[in-house]
Point group: C2
Chain length 498, copies 2
């Protein structure tokens, strides 16, 4: 059976991916500073071995031959995903890949240097190079897949996502938010007038915050037999499904940011831990994509952990670990005021749940035009400013540092990724709504800190499905309808309009 060759190749690639994932987590958590250079050499050599093995020309023959073999249903799906990955990895000529890596590395390095100074003019030529390369990549991927150029880029991150579908959903959401944000801000002001923000009782020791984080992870279903929590400057969820490496960072003047971050990463971790173990060496067995991954983290963070029910359970957990006077005189509404605080701002990564999607839609609109060639790099600052004024009433024209220079995605060539964030937020809301119909006790369960039925539902509908369906099909199968903005809008109205 030729399929056995693909199966064996999968095991070899899995071993290299295992090493790369653990080395990546180790680098951020335990590597000695001076170990970086040799680590970079080792990782780049191992990645090269992975690429060489994953793209060997005979694999195309194996795939074609395997397709004609008498395969079990899951093996047939496995071959399809092998092929998807193979095409994705081989559709760019080596010459192009080298040119592209070198352009984005140069551009990212320059960005790190010039961002602090807000030197857009100095950065523009490097970004122009990256955009030129991205257009070329979109054309090459389009040719190999038959997709439209920008769709071919998005397909790297969430297979099946198409601008034609997303345009309508994002337009709906954008129009809603432009009207809703003033409403939410007014409502917040009214609430604050009646109930002013309360003071925290800092400092909160790191040891105790760690214990609280571990208890919260445990409660929402993290399996410590297959993962752990460490500290890193940029929190992440890495490692491998059998040994998920989660990180957070702590500040001692408050604890809510770290706790919410831990819960967000736990959402990613549960997805990885819930993937089907027998498929772990197949492309088919991996998490579907970035949007679905984000839906799982945002489900825990936004749908669960920032809800009043959750805090019925979490409030005693906080006092148990941080002390009876950790939140002096606070009740649940005071916590919700803090964790759901809405504010218009310049920076996407600092944005709250309500304003965040507008940051993403702005980037989505602009990068589609950049790839299509209808927007030029030199015109980005004006285009960015116009949209920021329109969406959030803020001008960035004199402040490129907090405008188009704020994110690493474009400088590093990551076009097509941004929409996943907001598609994930909408997916999380749509999943929560579908789940609530299936689980009438969901609110009571959350208030008790019992996430077993919720996680079983997610395991059945999402985690165990791995890469069996495209992103849109997975959402439709799980929720009974295509992704749309309605559930997210309802969620925002019920949380912020009252």
């Amino acid at each position: 059976m030729t399929f056995a060759k693909l199966d064996d190749l999968g095991r070899k690639l899995e071993a290299l991916e295992h090493a790369l994932s653990i080395l990546g987590a180790d680098e951020a958590t335990h590597m000695a500073i001076g170990g970086g250079e040799k680590r970079a050499d080792a990782v780049s050599t191992l990645a090269g071995m992975h690429h060489a093995q994953a793209t060997a020309p005979h694999i195309r023959d194996w795939i074609e031959t395997a397709k004609a073999e008498d395969l079990a249903a899951d093996q047939r799906l496995a071959v399809e995903e092998f092929e998807r990955d193979y095409v994705k990895a081989t559709c760019l000529p080596t010459e192009f890949v080298e040119r592209s890596s070198s352009a984005s590395m140069r551009s990212e390095q320059l960005w790190r240097e010039l961002r602090a100074k807000g030197d857009w003019k100095g950065f523009e030529p490097a970004l122009q190079g990256v955009v030129d390369i991205a257009r070329e990549e979109a054309a090459l991927r389009s040719e190999a897949t038959g997709l439209a150029p920008y769709d071919a880029l998005m397909d790297k991150y969430d297979p099946g996502n198409r601008a034609a579908d997303i345009d309508a959903v994002f337009a709906d959401l954008k129009n809603f938010l432009k009207a809703f944000i003033p409403t939410a801000l007014d409502a917040q002001e009214a609430r604050l007038a009646k109930r002013p923000r309360k003071a925290l009782n800092a400092p909160y020791s790191i040891e105790k915050q760690r214990e609280l984080g571990l208890a919260a992870m445990q409660a929402v279903g993290f399996d410590f037999n297959h993962g752990s929590l460490a500290v890193s400057h940029h929190p992440f969820c890495g490692g491998v499904p059998t040994d998920v490496r989660m990180t957070t960072r702590y500040r001692t003047d408050e604890f809510l940011t770290s706790l919410m971050g831990v819960l967000h990463e736990t959402g990613h971790a549960l997805y990885e831990q819930g993937l089907p173990k027998n498929w772990s060496h197949w492309s088919l067995g991996k998490a579907r994509g970035m949007g679905i991954h984000e839906s799982q983290s945002l489900f825990v963070e936004m749908q669960l952990a920032r809800s009043p029910e959750f805090w019925q359970f979490a409030m005693p957990l906080v006092t148990q670990h941080l002390g009876a006077d950790a939140l002096p005189g606070w009740d649940i509404d005071d916590v919700l005021t803090e964790v759901n605080f809405v504010e218009r701002g310049y920076i996407r990564v600092d944005a709250d749940e309500v304003t965040y999607p507008l940051h993403v839609i702005l980037r989505y609109d602009l990068e589609k035009e950049l790839i299509a060639g209808t927007l030029q790099v030199k015109d980005i600052p004006e285009a960015w400013d116009a949209k920021m004024q329109d969406y959030l009433g803020l001008s960035t024209i004199d402040n490129p540092k907090d405008g188009p220079m704020q994110d690493v995605h474009w400088p590093s060539g990551g076009f097509g990724y941004f929409p996943s964030y907001t598609l994930g937020a909408m997916t999380a809301a749509q999943l929560a709504s579908a789940m609530r119909k299936d689980l009438p006790n969901m609110s009571a369960d959350i208030a008790k800190g019992d996430f077993s039925a919720i996680n079983q539902w997610r395991a059945d509908k999402i985690w165990s499905q791995a890469s069996r369906y495209s992103t849109p099909d997975l959402i439709t199968k799980a929720t009974g309808e295509k992704l749309n903005a309605d559930y997210f809008k309802s969620h925002l109205k019920s949380r912020y309009a009252g």
Copy 2:
């Protein structure tokens, strides 16, 4: 240049070794328990890739061609060491390697089960299998290298070590120790009569012990820019030269065991950190062998850290980190009584500096005979007992658990390794004596905690030499004479006879 191909191969192998080393350290320190199975798969696949790349048939041609090229001096040495490693890795047929791994894995697993019960009879057939395989391996290696069979096994661990040389040195040491141990015990008794052992002031917190260990590492020269200290059940020194992963373990009822363990591992770490960076991807650039490695750890542990001078510097360090009353009423002599306590015992790993070599010589004598076929597995318990009675006056005939079943080495097929421990101890003493001639202020430096001149000497003579010379040649070049027992004997006399 064909040499460039070897150079490039070295970089590929280094990347895989980097991954395997860091994964190994990670497994012992940070891996989630349930991650073990997939980790084992990944490591075995990566090790297989390493073996396949290191033993490819065309490498023999590369080596032959490179030898004829116009190479720099260090490149010529590099080719020689590439060849040594290549022969070592290819002289066993694949069929034999598989048979050997499977026999030692079965035997080691059985040993883990039967050791606790002291079931020698149940274990004997498995050990017989491993000894048969070891005889076969010795014959194959002998054929490939032209060395005598047992020498060919030792050569894996310390290139150049020959039984003909070691026999004489070990015989000298054995005869000395049989007479010296009663002298040392009498002297100890006389000292204890005048100055009884003092009580510790436990508990010693793990956090404070860790700070003390880090301070001691720093003082003796560990470079924290290229390494770190963690906790593991079995302490080790692993990782890579640019990122050395050291571990220790703590008990709270005393702190001297952990501190001495940390200093021992720091000795290994300094060797790794001091290897020549430009050669790191060549066999030539690696540490010479196990005996030299052990000489570096024992130099720090035995020659430095258990000396009166060292404790002039270390005593204030202990009170600084563990508190003024950490050793209530102790002076330096009280510490030395504890860290240099001599006692006849059954177990090698628990033995002190004086009795330890007899445990090793016993094993060396027996395993030479096992490989030669002049001792049979069924006769080991009697042979072991006879030697234990002769050397240490202890009988193990009714206690195989603490006799021939105590070590993992034979059950796992590790014949030829034991002598390295005691050769390392003797080498450390001989190095210290040579150093003392070159560095007249050595004692005063140690008392001040200034190890810079000492480490510079070691860097010049040992660390920077990497695998440039055979083990015996390296010792001769560093100390001006062949390895002999005199310096170790003098060291023991001056420390224990007074």
